[in-house]
């Protein structure tokens, strides 16, 4: 794991040049709702890349090993396993349909040959084991090669079965199902650094689980008011600290972040730290609260910072300073004057995620029109790139895009009014060690690499 500022990535030293690597998914104009990607996550090593979609499926891609005969294929991600994680369910008690959409996937650190991940929909979390099988046994005594049982009276001799190689088969099996612990919709799961526990958060509560125990979970945060009339705030995201197993944070719809220490009390309703930036009175509007609602919170790999994403910006916070963020990066400030229209068409409620580069020197988040933004924290430079089929020639470098906020539009700029608000990049992921990024654009997954790579 790269350390703070520097590490293995040369990101801090020069401007990154991003190039197209691959795109996965159908080319059709007509997008099936079930194929819309709802989460993207690299494994701890970066060799595996998982996506979840609205149809409840998980697709895992594996990075190809370096192969001298196919030098171009080095580093390419190809399908490794596909499985149906969640099915649509019906809650008979409340007469509600439970969506099968995968809200989040989180990998567990690898401990043996098999890979484990947690996937969750609105109500149920599942632990999946993905394992390889490349041998099979032949020469059983009690059954013949077809699998049919042999007549015991016909068996006259004993033989030892032998292992023979077979075509690689990747199997996914559900090992644990963590159900019935959430009344409201699960928005986050986060594996603890102890690798034994994890948290799951819904709109009003956060539960702590042990990976081995499915019939019990501990409630560690509960913000449900006694009187629902008094509800003014919900939990929007939660994450464990990457190094301190007793610390986690959760964000709210009012733009606040609370850091909690599980050692201080069993129920962490009282925070240890409270992060909130005071509102700028000059930009106050009816939509101030909605745009301050935090849609994602992520600790830096170093554990010293955390990043929050609200509607218009990404903020980096020093955990030692609660009064205001240490950095604020504008994602698409040109939308500020369009907030009413965006409220009308509900785009203002879109939940964008954000991610850190492996060395924490850069951060990335999505926007509209299939644009995504990257901010280099060292050089203070930012760039807007686009995930589109037009820019999809192999190893073609991505050209920076620009949105014209007003006045005379230059030739290669886009005007705000021509942005496609149906093409949103909500989910992005950065390889933990290299400059490889995965960007989900509706039903397509784009993989880009740094030119140096």
């Amino acid at each position: 794991m790269a350390g703070p500022g520097g590490g293995g990535c040369p990101a801090g030293g020069h401007d990154l040049q991003w190039c197209f690597s691959q795109v996965k998914g159908a080319v059709d104009e007509d997008v099936a709702e079930a194929d819309i990607i709802s989460t993207v996550e690299f494994s701890y090593s970066g060799d595996l890349l998982a996506t979840g979609d609205k149809g409840g499926r998980v697709v895992i891609f594996q990075r190809e090993q370096e192969n001298k005969s196919r030098p171009h294929a080095r580093g390419e991600y190809n399908v490794y396993s596909t499985f149906q994680s969640h099915e649509p369910e019906f809650d008979y008690l409340k007469s509600l349909e439970i969506e099968e959409k995968i809200n989040k996937i989180r990998w567990l650190p690898q401990q043996n040959a098999a890979h484990f991940l947690l996937s969750t929909n609105d109500k149920t979390i599942k632990l999946w084991k993905i394992s390889e099988r490349d041998k099979r046994a032949e020469g059983y005594n009690l059954k013949d090669e077809d699998g049919r049982l042999r007549d015991p009276f016909r068996i006259t001799a004993l033989r030892v079965p032998i292992l023979k190689p077979m075509d690689l088969m990747v199997e996914a099996s559900p090992r644990r199902i963590f159900a019935n612990a959430h009344t409201y919709h699960i928005n986050s799961i986060s594996v603890n650094s102890d690798h034994e526990t994890y948290l799951s958060a819904d709109d009003l509560r956060i539960n702590l689980w042990h990976l081995e125990i499915t019939d019990r979970s501990f409630n560690i945060v509960d913000i449900k008011p006694v009187n629902m009339e008094e509800l003014t705030e919900v939990i929007t995201a939660a994450e464990f600290h990457p190094l301190q197993c007793n610390v986690f944070v959760y964000s709210s719809s009012k733009g606040t972040i609370r850091l909690c220490d599980m050692r201080s009390s069993a129920l962490c309703d009282r925070h240890s730290k409270f992060f909130e930036e005071p509102e700028d009175p000059s930009s106050r509007s009816f939509f101030s609260e909605i745009i301050s609602s935090i849609s994602d919170v992520k600790f830096s790999h170093s554990g010293r910072y955390m990043m929050t994403r609200d509607y218009l910006s990404v903020k980096v916070w020093d955990l030692n300073m609660e009064s205001r963020p240490v950095e604020t990066h504008q994602v698409h400030e040109y939308l500020r004057s369009k907030l009413c229209s965006l409220y009308e068409n509900d785009c203002i409620f879109d939940k964008f995620e954000c991610c850190w580069s492996g060395s924490d020197s850069a951060i990335m988040t999505g926007s509209y029109n299939n644009f995504f933004r990257m901010f280099d924290r060292n050089t203070r430079r930012d760039v807007t790139l686009e995930a589109s089929r037009e820019n999809s020639k192999p190893r073609a470098c991505l050209k920076p895009r620009k949105v014209c906020a007003g006045g005379k539009r230059r030739k290669d700029e886009m005007s705000v009014d021509s942005l496609d608000f149906n093409k949103k990049i909500l989910h992005t992921a950065w390889h933990p060690a290299e400059n490889v990024i995965a960007v989900a654009a509706t039903n397509n997954l784009y993989i880009f690499q740094d030119k140096v790579n």
């Binding site: 008094e230 003014t232 000059s282 229209s341 068409n345 006045g407």
Partner: protein, 237 residues
């Protein structure tokens, strides 16, 4: 896309300001003057829009709580900023919506549609503002949160205001000890409950009705009878 083009200001080529085409319908909220005192007409549009969103949200079988809370909070903000019009009847309309917004959150599950109906009824009594949209007309009768398809309204027609057939005195005595709170909050209001008086109820209430209005009426009866809204009675209620 709903982004509308408005008047464009001429500017220098080199300048790149953030504010762009000024939307004539909704003034730029980043200007302090506008943010502090929005014209009542635009606040009203935002109010109506928020109510519509709330209605949409509540009609989901399981509303997105974040969306709901954010819309309700926005509604409260808009309502708080709306200056009372002199032409309004002395109905405390600025406080009605937040109160109803509160009750909207309080009444979960079965009573959601009843609360929503009350909110819509409130809006139709607020004069001086644009007419509240009638989403029921566009989208059909409100579905109860307990079902996928809208409930059959045939039953409502049978239960006219005068027919309290299910809750005759005789029968009531028999079932006195049974908890009927689940039934009280649903659509079949007993005739003995105090009906909402008021001249505004006249049009369309006693006459041949569209199903929508009949249902609203009964929902309101239930609401007035069973829910305590913090709203003093006044003309029209």
């Amino acid at each position: 896309m709903m982004l509308s083009k408005g008047l464009k200001r001429k500017r220098e080529e080199e300048q790149e300001k953030e504010t762009l085409a000024v939307d004539t319908w909704w003034l730029d909220p980043s200007l302090p003057a506008v943010a502090q005192a929005p014209p009542p007409a635009t606040s009203s549009s935002l109010f109506d829009l928020s109510v519509l969103k709330l209605h949409h949200s509540l009609r989901q079988s399981e509303p997105d709580l974040r969306h709901l809370v954010l819309v309700v909070n926005t509604l409260r903000r808009v309502q708080a900023s709306m200056a009372p019009e002199p032409t309004l009847p002395p109905v405390p309309s600025p406080s009605a919506a937040p109160c109803v917004a509160d009750s909207l959150l309080a009444s979960s599950d079965a009573a959601l549609s009843a609360s929503m109906a009350s909110l819509l009824e409130d809006l139709s009594h607020i004069e001086g503002l644009s007419q509240a949209p009638q989403p029921l007309v566009d989208e059909g009768p409100p579905g109860r949160p307990t079902g996928g398809s809208p409930p059959s309204l045939g039953a409502l027609d049978l239960l006219g205001p005068a027919t309290g057939c299910l809750l005759d005195d005789e029968l009531e005595g028999l079932f006195e000890d049974i908890d009927t709170s689940m039934y009280d909050s649903e659509l079949w209001a007993p005739a003995s409950e105090a009906l909402k008086p008021g001249p505004e109820d006249g049009p369309g209430k006693e006459e041949a009705l569209e199903l929508d209005e009949a249902e609203l009426d009964y929902l309101l009866d239930v609401l007035v009878g069973t829910q305590a809204l913090e709203r003093p009675p006044g003309p029209g209620r």
